[in-house]
Structures are given as structure tokens and as C-alpha cells.
Symmetry: C2
Subunit: 234 residues, 2 copies
DNA sequence: ACCATGCTTCGGTTACCATCGAAGTATGCC
DNA sequence: GGCATACTTCGATGGTAACCGAAGCATGGT
């Protein structure tokens, strides 16, 4: 366990309502400009600039410059995971009222940093386990050999994922559904491939919409991919 | 993702060096009195009392009264996991110098909230995977059928563990070794059993010492348990 | 060159928080 | 009952941080 001063410093970066709102906006997985973050945070540009400096000092966000625009992102997946953990904790410490987004579209499907969240994401995990593409309990997941074939067929480079020091199959508690969906590097890769294949697209804001193929992949991940392979073989 | 004010409030509870030190002391897994925490935090009793109130308000610690003593603990395993994540993040954001405890005894074996940490804990995970008691990558673990038998033989009630909403096999980055050891409800249960069997005992502070049986369990988890079973069958 | 836009820096104001000593309350021991 | 210990509450003090408007700098468009 490392030094506490550093931990308090990192926690301090999160411990302000304005910076918290900024981080939540960034947790949608998209880069945002300083002006956008000022709006989301509800402060002026000068205040936002100061806050963004604090977040960068703490290593929570990184910046890319493009002309006069400054684009900010969550710095690393580990940051997103820690923020998820803290947000879940914060939520569960309070009342028992329904938590998570109120907007039905967001409850249905949204992005949680870099992977699918919402009802459809929970259902996808259920289906993957029913088809024995993922094995183990909901709290202890691993890809089966069949799952490896499935992921490769979807176009996911598993060896590349495994070179990264990041959990492959990480259950993430979906607070709106109070069940888990799939996070980790595999969860991120699945979303990435679905975007690339145009099986999903972002609607305004944070919700996600599925194409017909995307909906079928969610519902019948095994047979959907098998049908695709058969079509290619013919 | 829940509301940001709650997250900022929780982060704010951690965002003070004194409270950070208190939390780190509690991360050793033992209950501590207010006076002990005042000493560890380096403040007077009145300051400590105020800080402990803040930590309780945030749901990070809980208190048990026994006569005039107040015993504080980390409130829930989820809190410990979030603190681990944040501490690891804080450490990795900085320099590349060697992190983790300097004390060789602590590097060798210590408790990280409720499970074994240190060189021996990393070695145990390696051995469990070599013997195919745990399968999957270091970043994606699950118990094998052989592993289920092994855990039951050690005296671990797996069905009971599985009723809990908590990850069974969770890799936890051991910062002193920069490799993973086993956390999660199984990691906690293994330590609990080893304590009950007197295979390990706490030394002063945070380090842990192994009995001969404990050392053999770490080195040869499979054959050690098999030998034990054979002895019982004779 | 001029103007607009995005963003940063500066300086001032206000509110909040961490600290402690003193006093108070509850518990335990003799 | 008296004293010691553990801990909490109160009030005062000092320091820090969040906020903003104004000014300044860099980039882009005409």
C-alpha cells in the first residue's frame, strides 16, 4: 500500500462537486473540451481551467490540444474503474431509492467509460454465460474456449488484449439494474467492435441505439456469430 | 452512475492526510480504537474524534462500542477495494521508485485488509495456477473443479461465499511486488482458514509469520492438502 | 490586419475546514 | 465516592480553496 499523502491528494481532486460533475461527464467515454466541461460543471471558464489543472495534477485526466481547443479525457482505464467503485460506494451508502439514470433510454443502453452498461449490457452478460461463452459465476468470470472462438469471430484480438495489464473479464455492477454487466478489456473490446461494425451508434448524449444486427448479437450472441460465419463460408 | 455530490462527499472524506493515515491503519484488517487512530494519524483526540465522525458520515468506517472504548473498522469490503484501487492509482501516477513497504518482513507477508499480500501471497497465486486449482489468466481468474475440491478440503464453505455479492477470485495488484495476489471472497476465506488452522499468525503490527504447515501450504498447495486428506483417511 | 473564439493567468473575496485546549460525559477501577 | 481513562463537544484561530471578472495569450476565420 503506497503513501497516504498521494492518496489524499488524488481523493482531493475528486472531492469537489464541480470536479465530480466534470469527471462524470468524461465517464461517458468521449473527449470533451474545456468549454464543454465548464458548462457541465456549471462554472465559468476560468474556474473550469483551474479545476482541470487540479485533475491533471492528480493524474485523473489527460489533455490533447487541437488548434485552440483542449480536449480532456479520463487518463487511464484504472482511473475509470476507481471512479466507478467510488460512485457505486457513494450510491450504496445512502438511501435505498432507485439509483442510476432516470431516463429510460439511458437505463436501456449507455456507455460506462468504455463498455456497455444498462439493461442490454446486463442481458448480454446473461446470454454469454448461458451460451457458455463465459464461464464462472457472475462474480468470477473467464472466457471459455468456445468464448475465445466467439470473440475472435467477432473480430477481437485476444492475444493483444492479454498483453495489457488489465483484467480481461471484469464484472461491473450496473447500478441502474443492480446486476453486473461486462467491463474489463473484453467489455471495452466488444463495444469497440460493435461501434466499428455499426451495430451500435451513440444517440445524443450518453444513450446508445442498436442496429438490427446489434440487437440480435445481444439476444443470441452465439447463433448470431455462427450465422455470420456460415454466410462467409458459403 | 449515481449522483456526483455523493461521490465528492465520499472522496472528501478521504482527501485529508490525517484521515488517509487512519484509513491505511484500518486497512490492516484489525479494529482500532479512537485513541490508537489518533496516534496513527498524528493528531489530538479531539481532532481524531472529528475526523472519525467524517469517515462515518461518508460510510467508510463503522464503530462498535465496548465499555468506554470505541472500535473502528473499515465498513465493508467494497470500501477496502475502492481504497486499494485509489492507493494503487495514487502510487502509479507518480515516480517509478520502488513502492510498497520497505520493511522486508512486510514485503514477505502482510495483510491487505482481509487477504494475504506480499511475496508469499504472489507465490501462492502462482502455485494455485500452476496446479490448475485456479484457471484463467492472472487478470481473469476462476476456480477449477479441482480447485473447488481443494478449497473444500481446506475447510472453505464455497456455497456460502457464493451467496455473497462479492467477487470470488479477484486479482489485487501487489504494489510491493508489482504482480497480483488473490483477493476477493476466496482470498479472504483462505486467510481466515489459515488463521483458524494456526498456519499463520500476526506478528507485531502488520507482518505475518507462517507455521511450517503454513509455509508448505504456500509452496505446495495441492500436495499439501492431498497429504492431509490421506492422513485423515488412514 | 482585424476580429472572434478558446482558454489561461491574475488578483480579490468569501466560505469552509483542520487544528487545539478546555470543559464535559460515560465507563472502569479501587 | 473518588479518581483515572476514553472520548465528545464547544469555541477560537489560522490557513486553504472555490468562485469570478478582467486582462492576456494563442489560434482560427475573413
Amino acid at each position: 500500500m503506497p503513501d497516504t499523502p498521494d492518496m489524499a491528494f488524488v481523493a482531493g481532486a475528486i472531492a469537489d462537486p464541480t470536479r465530480g460533475r466534470m469527471l462524470m461527464s468524461l465517464m461517458r467515454g468521449q473527449a470533451l473540451t474545456a468549454t464543454e466541461l465548464a458548462l457541465d460543471g456549471g462554472v465559468t471558464a476560468s474556474t473550469a481551467s483551474s479545476h482541470l489543472g487540479r485533475l491533471m495534477d492528480a493524474g485523473l485526466v489527460s489533455v490533447t490540444r487541437q488548434g485552440r481547443h483542449r480536449y480532456f479525457r479520463i487518463a487511464r482505464p484504472e482511473v475509470a474503474e476507481m471512479l466507478e467503485g467510488m460512485a457505486n460506494l457513494a450510491s450504496s451508502s445512502g438511501s435505498r431509492i432507485t439509483t442510476g439514470p432516470r431516463d429510460p433510454a439511458l437505463r436501456h443502453a449507455r456507455v460506462c467509460y468504455d463498455h456497455l452498461a444498462g439493461e442490454t449490457a446486463v442481458r448480454l452478460l446473461v446470454r454469454l454465460r448461458e451460451h457458455e461463452l463465459l464461464i464462472g459465476d457472475e462474480d468470477s468470470l473467464a472466457l471459455s474456449p468456445r468464448g475465445e472462438t466467439w470473440a475472435a469471430a467477432l473480430g477481437i484480438d485476444l492475444p493483444a488484449l492479454r498483453t495489457r495489464r488489465r483484467i480481461l473479464c471484469r464484472p461491473c455492477l450496473d447500478w441502474s439494474e443492480r446486476r453486473s454487466h461486462l467491463a474489463g478489456s473484453l467489455g471495452a473490446a466488444i463495444l469497440e467492435r460493435m461501434v466499428a461494425l455499426r451495430y451500435v451508434r451513440r444517440t445524443s448524449g450518453r444513450a446508445i441505439a442498436f442496429s438490427e444486427n446489434g440487437a440480435r448479437l445481444i439476444d443470441r450472441p452465439d447463433t448470431f456469430i455462427r450465422d455470420k460465419l456460415v454466410c462467409r463460408a458459403v
